[in-house]
Amino acid sequence: MPVDFSRQPRVLVVHGVQAGSDSDVESRTQIRKLIDRSLAKSHLQRDFEVAGFFYEDINDRAQRFYRTIGRALTRGEPLAGRALALVIDLFGDVVSAAADTGTAREIRAGLRSAIVEAYRQRRQLVLVAHSLGSFYALAVLGELMKTNNYFAGDDRATWPVQGLVTLGSPLGLDVRIGDLRVFDKLAIVPVRGADFEVFPWHNYFNRLDPVVSGRLFGNPISVSAGRGPVEKRYGDDTDAAHWLLRGHAVTSGKQWLFAHTAYWRNSKIGDRLVDMLWG
């Protein structure tokens, strides 16, 4: 089922750490707006679809037991109860991914299935992943590239994913919580037998984003030649695997966690997606 580049392309958006449920996730709408705006500014008309891969409900089901305990512990203290529920929600999402729990495997399987579904429809697909979502996206890409079914050298029609865009990714962090290594370094799998094509990975980050830098109060990191923490950690591996990893340090007039959520309004991301889909 080779990709037919004349068909309507799909952008699949993988969200990051979230509070709330799948219905609260607005990432798909925001990416749609960025692409629409980029096309409109250049007086272009293109047909495309933006789909979201949502996994917050999967995480919430896994955390139900801990939420129940939390509610019992904070009975009669609603403010404390809400704060604890939020901590369980956010912290639990990260621990699931880091510990490669059954929940994490279920999420990866769901993402892999969403990608393969687009491939069966012969549609070009670009993956956009924010924050923790970038960990799942990179892991699933590796799983797909390891099989013999996809990514056959220079024939991009055999590539279920044409490129990856990550936003505010913590993949450059090498931290531990006790014995648990959070964001363990993932293997970068080469595209077998490609002489001219490279797998493009565009990583957008803000120097003030604490999720990117690991700096609690968001003091800025230094960047040279577009290389931030992700590029420093993965650059050698992606070069060896004939990927094209490019770091994009962006600004937003925001700092700390406000910088972490400002990517959704950055017009340059819409421009990059337009380039990847129709350039």
């Binding site: 250049s42 272009l44 490279v198 962006v250 600004t251 937003s252 421009d271 380039d275 350039g279």
Partner: protein, 192 residues
């Protein structure tokens, strides 16, 4: 009295968190937009274009002065998908080749681009363009107000002839700077 004690500590924590969040939100640098306009010679005819990027200037929440630009810049072209310049060695701006691109020009000196004949097919990620000022490749940080960037293009694509302008150097108008607002990013097409 019991209610006061029960809610006092979490309420104080919530207020402290709210004050910190307000400080982080309010004491932020200002976002500026930088842009330079020009015209490119595409195979189907001349097209308006605008090179743009952003930068933060101001102070961080703890008072430290802070000024940083985006590492890359976007070239919006009237009627065509954008081209994205990224930071390369020395932070200088470069344009990566894409799928199916061939190199048809090479930079000989500050003045000219020489033809490469026959065109050479390159792996994606090869050099297809640079941004210069005063004949020298530059980073976004060097493209301050009043500086005229020169965009140099070196590639072509047989499957997508409109992807690149004719190889050569294009001198754009001087960089202008304004406070960035959401949705206010530039249109490359001339005003009707």
């Amino acid at each position: 009295m019991g209610l006061k004690l029960r809610y006092a500590r979490p309420a104080r924590a919530a207020v402290a968190a709210a004050v910190l969040a307000l400080a982080l939100a309010g004491c932020s640098p200002t976002s500026y937009r930088y842009q330079a306009r020009g015209t490119l010679a595409l195979p189907a005819g001349d097209a308006g274009a605008v090179l743009y990027w952003r930068g933060d200037e101001g102070r961080l929440w703890y008072g430290k002065a802070y000024a940083r630009p985006d590492s890359g810049a976007v070239l919006r072209v009237c009627g065509e998908p954008s081209l994205v310049f990224v930071a390369g060695d020395g932070d200088t701006l470069r344009l990566d080749s894409g799928s199916g691109d061939t190199v048809v020009g090479e930079i000989r000196d500050a003045a000219g681009v020489a033809t490469v004949d026959p065109p050479r097919r390159v792996r994606a990620g090869a050099l297809c363009g640079v941004v210069r000022a005063g004949g020298v490749p530059v980073a976004t940080g060097a493209l301050t107000e009043g500086v005229q960037p020169e965009l140099v293009f070196l590639c072509a694509n047989a499957r997508r002839p409109q992807r690149y302008p004719a190889p050569g150097a294009y001198l754009f108008a001087a960089v202008s700077k304004s406070v960035a607002r959401e949705g206010g990013d530039p249109e490359p097409c001339p005003a009707r």
